[in-house]
Subunit: 271 residues, 2 copies
């Protein structure tokens, strides 16, 4: 039983996890963010900035926008602020705040940006409704989420699929949803957004893309799965032998004859 299940974070806050988030941000920047550009002078809310992995990109790509980045975790905000400062970003204000009770007036922002956050929330629709309140009429929301059920690979492996399902189960136990990418369209629609458009961003990895083999299959995806090892074993979701085989099989897809597929979803809507 969690004391505050709404606010747990399945991946934890370790240093390795911080490294993973940064690897992920770098490898995927173009794929996920190339078409997110906010005009100079526009007010942008980044809800759930974490350690600032995406904030750096946001600030770089829209240097004239006035970005407010919020997160629940004070230590994460400290890291995010240092990271953005180090990268030369000067257009971000950081603030500790709860996505379910935002300390902003109605219609404060021109645009809202939410990346890898909804998957960890108990109630994504109420959260989106809260965000919609602080958006100006005609303003846009952009949401990016993964979907762990979109992962498949060659050689196929039941053990690897089982290891991934441990992560999905643990995220669900904490009230999150690791399969949320495919649901962005109905979620944004239910929260009242108009002109909802969802565009999948598939990461396809084979030996002709060594940077993705390293940066995505190994450092991002498999590292993320490995992060829940202890909890998965503690709960008996999988045997130690099966877990080890699953992880070995995920690394096996990084061999010259292996392939790996994963899809992120980027959704936009208008108030």
């Amino acid at each position: 039983m969690k004391t505050n299940p709404r606010h747990t974070y399945v991946h934890g806050y370790s240093r390795r996890e911080a490294r993973r988030l940064l690897d992920q941000a770098q490898t995927l920047t173009e794929l996920l963010h190339h078409d997110t550009l906010y005009p100079a002078g526009s007010r942008v809310l980044e809800a759930g900035c974490g350690i600032g992995a995406q904030t750096v990109t946001l600030a770089e790509k829209s240097p004239g926008a006035l970005i407010t980045s919020i997160d629940l975790s004070e230590p994460s905000l400290v890291q995010a602020e240092a990271r953005v400062k180090a990268s030369g970003g000067r257009n971000v204000t950081f603030l500790q705040a709860d996505i379910y009770s935002l300390p902003f007036g109605d219609g404060t922002f021109d645009h809202i940006f939410v990346c890898f956050v909804l998957e960890h929330l108990h109630d994504p629709v109420p959260a989106l409704t809260c965000l919609r309140r602080v958006l100006k009429p005609g303003g846009t929301i952009t949401v990016i989420e993964g979907d762990h059920g979109s992962a498949y690979f060659s050689p196929d492996s039941e053990a690897a699929r089982k290891a991934i399902s441990c992560l999905i189960t643990l995220q669900q136990e904490e009230g999150g949803n690791a399969l949320i990418g495919r649901e962005l369209y109905p979620l944004l629609s239910r929260a009242g957004f108009q002109d909802v458009t969802v565009s999948p961003r598939m990461v396809y990895v084979d030996a002709s893309h060594p940077e993705l083999v390293e940066g995505f299959t190994k450092q991002t995806f498999t590292a993320m799965v490995e992060g829940v090892r202890d909890e998965a074993l503690r709960q008996g979701l999988v045997s130690r032998a099966e877990w080890d085989r699953g992880i070995r099989d995920l690394y096996r897809t990084c061999e010259p004859d292996g392939t790996f597929c994963y899809t992120f979803f980027k959704g936009t809507g208008v108030k």
Copy 2:
């Protein structure tokens, strides 16, 4: 026990199946074929043309190319020829032939095109090696295949996943591989092709794409799964009730709050 397992075709040869293949070809033409254009005068082999669903597109997009389309099934060839003629194509020669023993000399063709064929073969690498023989040095092969393990949807449904797995199992029993899309890179590499490049073509369907809800989720994918109902029940792969629930749940993804994802893979290589 099959008398000729190398040459069975899991989807059968019914009229409904012919309709499904045509719906599929129309909905997906741009996604799959927009970047396949052969120069005037080039000699192109289409291996496994079936009823000509893709041949019509090939002939239209490369009207100056000299296309030879082969298939094992004489009745399919008759249909393919009539279909291409009706669409105005005048640049295709049809020939009954076996992909494993091609009646052409070495280096006969400038380009080879193979679409939805390898998934039904026992031995895709030897087939690709045979095809490579009749290709000129420097010539290209283009292969397009689906991957039924790439299908996922919302609302998620165990019964729907089980119905899909029946199709995968039956195709495997006949010596095919319904998960072949993710393997194009290693298969083409093993057959000796150079500069192998694989590009996934994801079909993402939600209510903002009504033509895909109808043309892809219902008429193409779900119709294909429904096509193996009798055999799946006969073999006891699933109970009647579970099958019906699975199919109902696939149609459920076509409601306004549903989504559906599927990925085709297009691979190219050079001799």
